[in-house]
Symmetry: C2
């Protein structure tokens, strides 16, 4: 089965204390799509401008990403530039040029509307809802988000949360959304907003899954000797997870833990290079090796 | 087998945003001894003043802690008072009155000198070394420390590290000691200082074990709905681990992961009450239940 992924498709200019990389392929949908592509075929919904480099279209194609849902419009591609501090945990946005993304109206090709696994990667929650409305009977819908939408589009996000099966956010966003410092209490509050599965990402400290019946899973992060650029790690995590889930046999409850581990593994590779540079070089075999290694690193 | 534990035995006055608790039983050795007592008999080396409440002596006795090594001297017991901020992660010391601890000269009773498992809980590294010098042939010696000793007694600490099998410190101390931000790199550097086993504690994010041959273990923390007082959690962790290890059959390398999980479990109970209030109320059965639960929370 394939995964439908909607989100941002962008050019990222990323500065770290050690290097500067202009106009890398970025955006939540790009990271998630490449991550998912190691497990399943991907249908991408997004928008780019006429300046979008051909080499990035070819990159998507090499990863067998279906581009029927990628609109190419007159104007400029969404461009984000940001800078990381020395410890790679704090970043600040230097500039955001929305370009064609400003008027993005995601439209699903007919062939996309029957997709069973849907990842609403980080974009405005109204657009995430708009995509969902065009779907027939998706089996498993997961939404990701960011602090920006909590600040400027909370009512839209709350509406969306009633319609999704799973919701992914990071620890500071969970605290902001629920006004709760304790993450277990925050998880309970988020279930009440709708989603049966809630995942709180904690960066280098892994992630916690909570299911509505009270089940918890502590997912480790793969320990890295060097973090080059964490941009897109969260998108890679949820993309890898959804890619795995769309092809796994058996029940979701049985598979979602393995899915999170696969997601963590792809996210770890993502952090080892700028943008998608490292992720696009790995193989399914390297992913499986690191999956097994994480198993060994956590057994007791 | 029993565990010999040397460290501070203190009275702690702890303030949190919700409550104030004066003159609780505290100190690294007290927390570690009670934690270890669930697994093995404990021999305590420490010092208290004549003001030390009898009820705390009785508390040690209820936990079958051998007190032959506890000196009771004229003067006042070491008294620490501190205050936690609302998120319970940051604390500041309000006052430290060393009392009889200022001239503490740990002396081992003859019956202690043959101990196989030795925990040098957090005190000045010169005192930790002094204890070690009085031992015959310990099988497994672990030292804990704190940032204070990195600041004022680094040469002593470095001397000690050449003589211990295991070393436990928290993430910020590891970064301070090695001047490395990345914990895997920090672990490698710490092995070069002597210890074969290095454990970096990360509070609510668990702990990492590194063995000199490159083995790693990611130990989870037990997730809590409410943290009442984290004082002594790190001491409980290493105490529980050493207690378990001293009675476990088989090789250390086979047992140390389980030991860390037991340590995490006791540390989690410690955080649920002020001082030792909660830890002293639990049973070995409650510990085993939470151990099994941590297994379920991390399996994939």
């Amino acid at each position: 089965m394939s995964v439908l992924i909607v989100g941002s498709t962008a050019l990222d200019s990323i500065k770290t204390p050690k290097a500067e990389n202009p106009r890398l392929l970025g955006g939540s949908a790009s990271h998630a799509a490449v991550a998912a592509s190691f497990f399943a075929p991907v249908k991408l919904v997004g928008v780019v401008g006429q300046d979008f480099p051909k080499r990035y279209i070819e990159l998507y194609r090499r990863h067998k990403v279906d581009l029927e849902g990628l609109q190419v419009l007159p104007g400029k591609t969404f461009h984000w530039s940001g800078e990381y501090e020395i410890n790679m945990n704090n970043r600040r946005t230097l500039a955001t040029e929305l370009g064609v993304f400003e008027t993005f109206n995601p439209r699903l090709p007919a062939a996309y509307q029957d997709s069973s696994f849907v990842l609403l990667a980080n974009i405005a929650p109204s657009l995430q809802s708009h995509v969902l409305t065009q779907m027939r009977r998706p089996k498993f819908v997961v939404a990701d988000t960011m602090d920006l939408w909590l600040n400027i589009a909370l009512p839209d996000l709350l509406k969306l949360l009633k319609r999704v099966d799973g919701f992914v956010l990071n620890d500071s966003e969970a605290r902001q959304l629920t006004k709760e410092d304790n993450l277990l209490t925050a998880l309970k509050k988020i279930h009440k907003l709708g989603p049966k599965y809630v995942i709180i990402k904690k960066g280098e400290h892994g992630a916690i899954l909570s299911t509505r019946n009270g089940g918890l899973f502590l997912s480790p992060a793969y320990p890295l000797h060097r973090v080059v650029d964490p941009t897109g790690a969260g998108d890679s995590f949820v993309g890898g997870m959804m890619g795995y889930l769309s092809t796994a046999k058996g029940s979701l409850d049985d598979n979602i833990r393995k899915g999170m581990i696969y997601g963590s593994v792809v996210a770890s590779f993502c952090c080892e290079g700028f943008g998608l540079k490292f992720t696009t070089r790995i193989t399914r075999r390297a992913i499986d090796d690191r999956f097994k290694e994480l198993d060994k690193l956590t057994r007791f």
